[in-house]
């Protein structure tokens, strides 16, 4: 049974009591991802969202940095505060009986951070080091760089920021970012596990009900690119990353799109794994995944392989994307895809943390939470013809971004025109 309530200030609370679990978890999504660094009225350098997410944990309410972390630890809260491109997400899980005390601490962090100026230089040093470590992690780096080239700015903006941005940001910039983006309108709180709805709703009302609205600043999109690029790095492996457009979660073709992406590269008998790894032994890691924002979505494909085998790997991946468009999918592939998605959904019922993500994400995209039965019925209704028809328009080269990272560039098909 899913409960939901929208407070007058716009904050949405969606919750699902789960029988048989002792834990409770919540995810608070705030419209404070790195994309909002560029919004009118905000306009701060790249990296602000991540630095603010770190700053709010360093003292809030009447607790200093140490007292705050100690309080969370005493409640046994596993927690993370992280900025992504769209949202800043505060996620926490603990025993059900500690849920409301944990929410009280998180509410302080969001609404009453101490924002001690002395914390700025340590946070800057930490953020710069995170950026350097990211350079040493080619597999993660290439995906950030792919999104940056594929999505229009600022929708592919990497949340760790840039060295120049992190170096230049001031305490006032960060305070401005916080005051404009940490707000109830556009915020979603998903809660799942051992919970009592009336008590939860009352507590959330007490903690967030008087949180004032803030007007959202307009975001101006700019085209990005290039569609073909190579980053030179002296690595053992070449990283291959590709993206092409698909439809968003609220689109009528959403289930067809998910099916097509999964059949391409979502599990171990999917086409990419079979053709690239099992048949040819070209790489260890290869996959395709579906990724959606509100107004755009993409299929991301990835592989990492040795220099002398990278060209063949890229060629096979492109051939598989083309074959999916040309030949469509079989009834057996569709059955396999359906079994995989359905069991993932049912198994997510065993984890309060996975459920909170699903609740908050559904609300963000659809303004409601889908039941398992609804999802299962939509998956059951798909036919191979449906999915094939959708796949026929997918993966066109002129809309595809191809990025490689490694010692030498590869030959990539040119974009028509």
């Amino acid at each position: 049974m899913i409960e939901q309530y929208e407070f007058p200030n716009g904050l949405v609370l969606v919750a699902e009591p789960m029988p048989g679990v002792q834990s409770a978890a919540f995810t608070l999504l705030l419209p404070a991802g790195s994309a909002y660094e560029t919004a009118d009225g905000v306009k701060v350098e790249s990296g602000a969202a991540s630095m603010v997410a770190e700053w709010i944990g360093r003292g809030a309410g009447d607790r200093d940095s140490r007292e705050l972390l100690n309080a969370l630890d005493n409640l046994g809260v596993s927690h993370s505060e992280s900025a992504q491109t769209l949202h800043t997400s505060l996620a926490a899980a603990t025993l059900g009986r500690n849920l409301i005390p944990s929410l009280e601490l998180i509410a302080d962090m969001v609404r009453k951070p101490t924002f001690d100026d002395d914390e700025i230089e340590p946070i800057r040093a930490l953020s710069l080091q995170n950026l350097r470590s990211l350079e040493d992690d080619p597999g993660t780096k290439v995906i950030y760089e792919l999104r940056k080239r594929h999505f229009p700015e600022p929708w592919g903006r990497p949340s760790p920021g840039t060295v120049d941005g992190v170096t230049a940001l001031t305490a006032d910039d960060l305070r401005r970012f916080h005051s404009r983006t940490y707000r109830p309108n556009g915020a979603i709180l998903g809660v799942a596990g051992a919970i009592e709805w009336p008590k939860l709703k009352e507590a959330v009302g007490r903690l967030f009900g008087d949180w004032p609205k803030v007007d959202d600043g307009r975001i101006h999109e700019r085209p990005t690119g290039p569609r073909r690029d190579h980053i030179v790095r002296e690595t053992q492996q070449i990283q291959i990353a590709m993206a092409y457009p698909t439809v968003t979660v609220d689109h009528p073709d959403y289930y067809r799109a998910r099916a097509a992406a999964a059949i391409l590269g979502g599990y171990s008998s999917a086409r990419l794994f079979t053709e690239v790894r099992e048949k040819r032994g070209l790489c260890y890691s290869v996959y395709a995944s579906y990724e959606s924002q509100k107004d755009r979505a993409a299929v991301l494909c990835y592989a990492g392989t040795s220099t002398d085998r990278a060209q063949e790997t890229l060629d096979v991946m492109l051939a598989e994307i083309a074959r999916l468009a040309k030949e469509g999918v079989s009834a057996e592939e569709l059955r396999t895809m359906r079994a995989g998605l359905k069991s993932s959904l049912i198994m997510a019922q065993e984890s309060s943390m996975s459920r909170t993500n699903a609740l908050a994400s559904d609300w963000y995209f659809l303004g409601r939470v889908r039941s398992l039965d609804e999802i299962a019925a939509r998956l059951d209704a798909l036919t191979p013809e449906d999915v094939s028809e959708f796949a026929a328009g997918q993966g066109q080269l002129d809309q595809m971004t191809i990025l490689t990272l490694g010692p030498t560039p590869l030959k990539t098909p040119t974009t028509p025109g």
Binding site: L72, Q236, G340
Partner: protein, 413 residues
């Protein structure tokens, strides 16, 4: 939760922790075969063999193995450590029969020569992938330094050379020795019926043959040596340290785990306050790993090359202060709270129970429920932790530094 246990006629031990409120069921084979069981000429064979099991059986080729798991929506994987190869699958209860049919089938693989040659390339790609990761390079090198000639120092993946030289015949011999029923534990967790599980295990595994295998478990004292490896392509400097800890046979493992949480948890620990909070380093943790008749504390540090010496001194100081004074009551209580909540969260999924169920049976011949484990943690006292610090000093430790500078040396006492 209800525990069950039986031994099949061929020596395969079967354990289960059943829970009617679960939505799924997990099954796992725990094979006592890891890198410590390898002679030098077959370095990496345990992990390579794990890959080869998925390449086909008399009843299925590689594509059929993947397809037969996927078509019932089963989530499957395998992992190889210093000590074990662990194969597992999680599925909806109504598909256990089909999923387990595949999982048990692959434990009797064909090991065909041409699959062996194709998969060799995949293993080499996996090795190269880890060579691009500074932390993995430092971790492998630190284990090799610390354990020196002891088999726990051997690489799990092997090297490009050892894998290239490995023959399919060597793998077949290793398989015959290690994959005998008496060297394997089968565990189930989640929603199922015990009588049905016993019938399933007998039908799928009752025909397995092989002689019991032995493992050399000589004890080891770590080297406490120091090594700096140049990787000029990296931006950050990485350090991995190792010191000896209590073995998995010891009840001291609970105190050792709590000590590592107090000192080196990723948040709120002494290393966090000394290194991460001030922005000196972007990574600083301590973890405890227990092995068969051995144990180790692993320290990890990631920071700018220019400040690596200062940070290593800070880490040493954190350890020395702890060794001199022990933790406070408040720190111990906090660590217990963290462990309690994390255990509860993990245990809510059958897959989260499967590992400890199987490993406890393999090495301790004991069933420990979540409550048994939590009680053992709650019994740990400050004196227990002080004793651990005395018996297993964290400092000096074996230290390996990897990155753009080699201008780093062991801190003076």
């Amino acid at each position: 939760m209800k525990f069950h246990q039986t031994t099949l006629k061929n020596g395969l031990e079967v354990v289960a922790e059943l829970n009617d409120t679960a939505h799924s069921v997990a099954a796992g084979f725990f094979v006592k075969a890891g890198s410590r069981d390898e002679s030098h000429d077959v370095s990496g064979v345990s992990h390579f063999l794990e890959h080869m099991t998925f390449k086909g059986t008399p009843r299925r080729d590689a594509l059929a193995v993947n397809r037969d798991f996927d078509r019932v929506g089963a989530k499957h994987n395998a992992q190889t450590s210093e000590e074990d190869t662990f194969y597992h699958v999680t599925c909806l209860p109504e598909y256990l029969r089909e999923s387990f049919d595949v999982l048990s089938d692959i434990l009797r693989p064909t090991l065909r020569v041409d699959d062996f040659e194709t998969e060799k390339k995949v293993i080499i790609e996996e090795i190269r992938m880890y060579l691009d990761n500074p932390m993995s390079v430092a971790y492998e090198a630190a284990k090799a330094e610390h354990f020196a000639e002891h088999p726990l120092g051997q690489s799990i993946l092997g090297s490009i050379d050892s894998i290239t030289a490995l023959t399919s015949e060597q793998m077949t011999n290793y398989f015959r020795e290690k994959y005998s029923p008496a060297n394997i534990v089968l565990a189930f967790a989640g929603k199922s019926d015990w009588a049905q599980l016993v019938e399933l295990a007998e039908r799928c595994c009752g025909g397995w043959e092989g002689k019991p295998s032995t493992r050399s478990t000589t004890t080891v004292q770590g080297s406490r040596s120091f090594k700096a490896i140049l990787r000029s392509e990296d931006l950050q400097q990485t350090i991995v340290g190792v010191s000896d800890g209590p073995p998995l046979e010891s009840e001291d493992r609970y105190a050792a785990y709590l000590l590592s949480t107090i000192l080196g948890d990723h948040t709120g620990s002494r290393l966090y306050w000394a290194l991460i909070d001030p922005g000196y380093a972007d990574g600083a943790d301590l973890s405890y790993q227990d092995y068969n008749q051995a144990g180790a504390f692993y320290s990890f540090l990631s920071c700018e090359p220019d400040s690596v010496q200062d940070n290593l001194e800070r880490m040493a100081e954190v350890y020395r202060v702890m060794m001199a004074g022990g933790p406070t009551e408040e720190e111990l209580a906090q660590a217990k709270n963290k462990v309690l909540a994390r255990s509860v969260l993990r245990s809510e999924r059958p897959m989260g129970r499967l590992g400890s169920l199987g490993f406890n049976w393999m090495y301790r011949r004991r069933y420990l429920s979540v409550d048994d484990e939590l009680n053992a943690f709650s019994r740990v006292t400050l004196d227990d932790i002080r004793r651990i610090l005395k018996d297993w000093p964290l400092w000096p430790m074996t230290t390996v530094s990897v990155g753009p500078t080699t201008d780093v040396h062991p801190p003076k006492d």
